[in-house]
């Protein structure tokens, strides 16, 4: 139908220890909307980072041609000069500058360093009209909602005479109306000849707007499907078609009574008070049971877990939590811990560890009372506890006085687990406990989960990796946009079933 505008051939990219892209081929025709889909970690972001110049020419192998010319760019600036703009999941806007100032940020209408405000104003008005943004251009970014911010991002891209627009999960943060508007805008811009690449987890919108779909899995191109052949079933098959191996240690389980349950749990976004982040969630977990919460990034799993654990995230939180059938107060982290909850954060560096403290100090922190008498720490007792944990978890560190900052990711994660096991909680909420750690360490985390379950503890296991959820859990809840959209026993579940609920 039309010319090929972008051609990426045999792109291979190594990160230390990981083959992120393995001979990927990807070509985009002029004037189309080309969707790029795949699971988390399939290589979509890496591919786009190469295209936008974040990963410069020379750091990967393979060839790229843009408008039939060699495309050897080394920076974001160069890619923008060639007419490629990327809109990231996290907005790159400055909150205390106006819409107009943001549109021309880094690309000011200026002469000899002096900004021409009149021209900025006029051009900004024109651009906001083009993207359908109804707002005075002198309003500050912090005062407009996410939907409008997304439009400002697009206006900003258009101001640079973009030929190829890359959108990374543009609707992830938007509500349904804003998403719908954005998709309409994409179609309208296509009519005017703009080519775009849409990265999305939401297969519904992919099917709605895409002319072509390319599926990536494990750093490889699985297939490219043209309009007419695009079906949800075909996309899902391409995305998950991976076989399960026995990466997961077996568990003898005796599942008891319901140990912990949450009823009618609701929470709202901490800054956008009208956005519901947790929507009428009801879940339960039995003694000795591992319950998974499957979902894509941004599905609201972390937000839900943190809103339960000490109301650490969100506002206007409502709902009831029960331990052994008795209602418990989880209003502060201290109370949650006392009532038998533990939350192992997905962000181990930001929220899990005191990086500048030692292995020992980190492990005993949440339950210092256990090694103290009359609020005085018995250091010798503490050393014994830490030594035991290091041995039990096989934490590789020369001494327990080692700063956790110097440990590898896997070992840091084991320190976090040791820390919460020292609390002797009843219910462990583990949020992406294997993210970013190697296969060996993953296996050890699974073993810890199994041992806890064997002791009759309950585990809520949050993960974006479906094979992991299926391999580790007894029962699975599926969460999407803050809602539980499905529940199934894992022997009845498979990746396709879950994926269908997710998208």
């Amino acid at each position: 139908m039309s010319e090929i505008i972008l051609e990426m051939e045999n792109i291979t990219k190594h990160f230390p220890g990981v083959l992120a892209l393995d001979n990927v081929n990807f070509s985009v025709k002029e004037g189309e909307i080309h969707a790029l889909v795949g699971e988390n970690g399939a290589g979509k972001s890496t591919l786009m980072r190469i295209l936008s110049g974040v990963l410069p020419h020379g750091s990967y192998t393979g060839q790229i041609k843009f408008e039939n010319k060699k495309y050897d760019i080394k920076s974001i600036k160069q890619s923008e000069e060639k007419g490629i703009a990327i809109i990231h999941q996290e907005f790159a806007l400055s909150p205390y500058l106006s819409i107009a100032e943001n549109i021309f940020l880094g690309n000011e209408n200026s002469k000899a360093g002096i900004v021409n405000w009149e021209m900025t104003q006029n051009k900004a008005v024109e651009l906001t009209k083009r993207v359908g943004l109804v707002e005075d251009v002198s309003v500050l970014i912090k005062d407009i909602g996410v939907g409008k911010r997304q439009l400002v991002e697009i206006a900003k891209a258009l101001s640079k005479n973009v030929k190829l627009l890359i959108l990374d999960e543009p609707t992830a943060a938007l509500n349904e109306d804003d998403s719908e508007n954005l998709l309409k805008l994409l179609l309208a811009l296509k009519e005017k000849g703009l080519t775009s690449i849409l990265i999305s987890h939401k297969l519904g919108e992919v099917i709605e707007v895409a002319d072509t779909v390319t599926i990536l899995r494990d750093g490889q191109t699985i297939e490219t499907i043209a309009k007419g052949d695009i079906t949800e079933a075909r996309i899902i098959k391409g995305m998950v078609g991976r076989e399960l191996t026995d990466r997961f240690p077996k568990r003898e389980h005796t599942i008891g009574d319901i140990l912990f349950n949450v009823e009618d749990w609701n929470a709202y976004h901490p800054t956008h008070h009208d956005k519901k982040i947790t929507d009428d969630v009801n879940i339960n977990v039995r003694a000795g049971e591992v319950v998974g919460i499957a979902g894509l990034m941004g599905a609201g799993r972390t937000e839900f877990a943190m809103s339960v654990f000490g109301k650490s995230y969100g506002v206007n939180i409502s709902g009831k939590a029960y331990m052994n059938g008795k209602q418990i107060d989880t209003g502060t982290v201290g109370k949650s811990i006392k009532n038998g909850l533990a939350y192992i954060s997905e962000d181990r560096k930001g929220l899990g560890l005191i990086l500048r403290s030692s292995v020992k100090d980190n492990i005993t922190l949440p339950n210092l009372e256990k090694v103290s008498k009359a609020m005085v720490i018995n250091e010798n007792e503490e050393v014994i506890v830490a030594d035991k944990a290091v041995e039990a978890f096989r934490i590789k560190c020369p001494t327990i006085e080692q700063e956790t900052n110097d440990l590898s990711g896997g070992n840091q994660q084991k320190v976090v687990l040791a820390k919460w096991l020292f609390c002797e909680s009843e219910v462990y909420i583990m949020d992406e406990p294997t993210r970013g750690i190697d296969v060996g360490a993953k296996h050890e985390v699974y073993t810890v989960v199994n041992n806890l379950a064997a002791e009759g503890k309950a585990i809520i296991f949050i993960s974006s990796e479906l094979p992991e959820i299926l391999g580790v859990c007894d029962r699975i809840y599926v969460m999407s946009e803050g809602k539980i959209v499905g529940e199934m026993l894992s022997e009845e579940a498979d990746q396709e079933k879950i994926m269908r609920l997710l998208v």
């Binding site: 650490s312 502060t332 949650s336 939350y343 990086l355 720490i377």
Partner: protein, 404 residues
Amino acid sequence: MKETNDTKAIAKTSGSKILRGNMRQYSMVMALVLLIVLFYFLTGGKLLKPLNITNLILQNGYILILAIGMLLVIITARIDLSVGSIVAFVGAIAAIMIVNMKIGVIPTILVCLVVGALIGAWQGFWTAYIKIPAFITTLSSMLIFRGLTIAVLDGRSIGPFPDSFRAISSSFVPDIVSEPIMLFGAQLNLTALIAGFLICLYIVFRDVNKRRAKSKYGFDTMAIWFFIIKQVIMCGATMAFFYLLAAYNGIPTLLIILIVLIVIYSFVTSKSVIGRRIYAVGGNESAARLSGINTKRLVFATNVNMGVLSAIAGIVFAARLNAGTPKAGTGFELDAIASCFIGGASVYGGTGTIMGAILGCFIMGVMNNGMSIIGVSIDYQQAIKGLVILLAVAVDMIAKDKEK
């Protein structure tokens, strides 16, 4: 294979690091010793004259009290700029109550401590609960309480204090015998000598006990010869110090206050649950909160504590000046902050020790005192002090960088 290499690399860096961790404390002691030796010669021995040693304590006592409180605040990754003004304000209240209103010394001191606590609570409220950056809260208090001091004093100094109040900063612990004893041709205060001896006994007793507990739990202990050398050095330094005090008027009352505070706060920071939590809050506030620590209450508490210690410093300083004056305590906050940073506390929070802050305070104090004796003018003293602060922290940063 890769994994084992990594582990080895970690083992290697950490080996030198642990050594360095202990070295740090020792190297600061070394810096102080070198400084003392340097000024001993520059001042022709005047620095270590018995009178001057007592002066060193009396001149730096109030800064030391402030530095102890400041250290806790700095560990939580915050700062307090208002302590100098609080010193002045509390001094003014003491002067008005005692001199103008003829209220007794003990009630006045109690009121001063409560006022300090309330000011601390005021700052803690804004910093911890309303989340106003500590820099701004305390900058505001710095102005508020300086202004209020001038207002309540009507711009004038109020004094003098009765002897019972002045005694805080000028009296000495009375000798147990009526006449000083003669030893090596010098008149010596027996109480000071006995106190020094008892402290030495305590140090040895404590370390032997610690050593015994460690072996009981089956941990490695340091080599016996090293242990003995350490005890000899520590006892030698203690005895030398108390000998110098004995050769003048004995133990200053202020020193008793300082020792009590140092013991309490060393214990709190190194051994207590609260101390550990303060370090955790400074190291990573979010992680501390998610570990069940009430971070707001803890930050609030460090502020109240700082207020009380500022009040103590205010009382001590007013007693030393023998008046409440509008200009009292100007710049004290900077000396206290500098003591903590020279002593190894991090601007980003989470690290620092009481011992370090004390050493930092005495490094500054010896420099002030030594330079004054040899006649360096105030302007150059300031400039040299400024350079020393920069150098001390720079050496630390560069050492840390190399480690990586």
